[in-house]
Amino acid sequence: MIQIPTNVTLLRRILVSFIRNEVEKVGLERVVVGLSGGVDSSLSAMLAAEALGPSNVLGIMMPYKGSSPESLAHAELVVQKSSIQSLTVDITPQIDAYFERFPDADQRRRGNKMARERMTILYDHSARWNALVLGTSNKTELLLGYGTLYGDMASAINPLGDLYKTQVWALAEEVDVPDVIVQKKPSADLWADQTDEGELGFSYRDVDRLLYLMVDERYSCPELIAAGFAAPFVDEVTLRIMNSQFKRRLPVIAKVSERTIDRDFRYARDWGK
């Protein structure tokens, strides 16, 4: 059985240090994080509380009228458990106002609009509160492109971006994210009965095993099949990764000069820090 390394003690130590270090070096002390009630944002928020102190973390809950009430209840659980600051901003008015003009918009457009509305709220509060926006996207969803570009994918620093969902679950248990959150079926909660695994067509635990071998261990296609994965599954996941690469890059800039941003103009984000 393929074992994804999950050294939760070491991970916790590294990620707490990462948050503290990368916030402080830009001269700030605080972060804001969107609390969806899901395991990723709960984990991110609790790691930040440990790194910076709970009073320096603001969890913002942004329900839509169609969101599951359970989501909000779970987010509140995290706030209570960790003693972080919190704020609730209902996004229904602004979303509904917009779609009144475009009533034939499908589920996907509405879901993406909500994700991006939440991003704008987080960034506004990061300016208001002199804080960084803390990311919650994990490696599985980043690789599969299962996230909204400039929506939930947007953040200043992201402690979970190199963790597979399997590892997120393990670490969440370690830092005592409420059990009901760790155990529930992951969902973007953008429409009724939406589940990640329902939408993807496979389970996180299965795809994580494949991704770990394919990406981290650089197994070739024949090696993956020899390891027991079905060829159609391997092909489907490979295609998903390839076709979502655009979500993991800056916009494509036409090169006309001798020195172009992100191509031959190369500097660290931590430039001078």
Binding site: N7, F18, R266
Partner: protein, 309 residues
């Protein structure tokens, strides 16, 4: 002959020479107070690591004001600085500079520049072209920078060239979170390497790493001072700033090499012969080292001569 060696396990600021120079000054002072004779700073700790296009901006000629300042700071002391050296013909080197009693005694330019995975050094830096031991007031030593030590040939050459201690300035990123370990995989691999070289070549190995994060990449610290028996006489914290000091008794080298004379028994000529054979190069051809670049002198097509009986 014994002396105290210290390692300053610091967190430099990326691209901020002045700030790092102040940090150096502070640590040199700390070393003096602690009675350190020789202080090791990590690789590129005067500049930070993921410099990318900033390399030309932080590069220092050995005649620069900053380097002169370091020379002054080394009066009555000795330390190894990690910086970007600019040569007279505008090449940039990932360099370790050994300062002693107000002067530069030796410069090592990193030979093996990792340019794979997360690393991109050969894009920005010129390769060093030599591995040399050098004399210090404490004895003969060699400096090897980080990846240099991942090539067993370098420690081998340093030992053969008479080094009784290897100073390894490093800037090593943490990675690999295998279950059941207190440190990341990379840290464990380094510790294995350091111990193997110290014991195999019977010398002191002083490993100086940094801590902190640059663009999400953390550095594992864990600096250490190993004796020729592979025993730790100094060990720094993992992932946190630290300052360690240990006593180096050169007599230990004598004892170790008396017990296990591996270097004495090493057949260097055999090694040369086999390398020449594997490389397809007859013994009268050698690699030219120098500013002009890397050439093999006199290489031309060989004709097999018939032996006369």
């Amino acid at each position: 002959m014994a002396f105290k060696v210290a390692v300053a396990q610091i967190k430099p600021k990326l691209g901020d020479l002045q700030s790092n120079l102040s940090l150096y000054e502070e640590k040199i002072g700390q070393g003096r107070k602690a009675g350190a004779d020789l202080l090791l700073f990590p690789e590129l700790s005067l500049t930070g690591y993921f410099l990318r296009d900033m390399v030309p901006n932080v590069a220092l000629k050995l005649s620069s004001g900053e380097v002169k300042k370091l020379e002054r700071l080394s009066r009555g002391a000795a330390f190894v600085a990690g910086l970007v050296e600019e040569s007279s013909d505008y090449r940039f080197y990932n360099a370790a500079v050994y300062f002693e009693d107000g002067e530069i005694r030796h410069v090592h330019r990193k030979v093996y520049l990792p340019t794979y995975g997360m690393f991109d050094e050969q894009r920005y830096f010129a390769r060093g072209d030599r591995i040399r031991a050098f004399d210090t007031k404490f004895g003969r030593m060699a400096m090897l920078i980080c990846e240099d030590l991942w090539h067993p040939s370098t420690a081998y050459l340093a030992a053969l060239d008479g080094a009784l201690a290897i100073l390894c300035p490093s800037t090593s990123p943490l990675r690999g979170i295998t279950d059941g370990q207190a440190q990341d995989d990379n840290a464990l691999y380094w510790e294995l390497l350091n111990r193997t070289y110290a014991q195999t070549f019977g010398l002191f190995l002083i490993y100086g790493n940094r801590v902190g994060f640059e663009d999400g990449v953390g550095f594992w610290g864990g600096s250490e001072i190993l004796d020729p028996f592979g025993q730790r006489i100094g060990k720094a914290k993992y992932y946190e700033e630290d300052f360690i000091i240990g006593e180096v008794a050169i007599d230990s080298v004598r004892r170790k090499r008396t017990m296990a004379p591996l270097l004495r028994d090493e057949d260097v000529d055999l090694t040369i012969n086999e390398l020449m054979r594997i490389r397809g190069r007859p013994s009268d051809l050698k690699k030219v080292q120098g500013l002009d670049g890397l050439r093999v002198k006199g290489a031309k097509k060989l004709r097999v001569k018939k032996k006369r009986r």
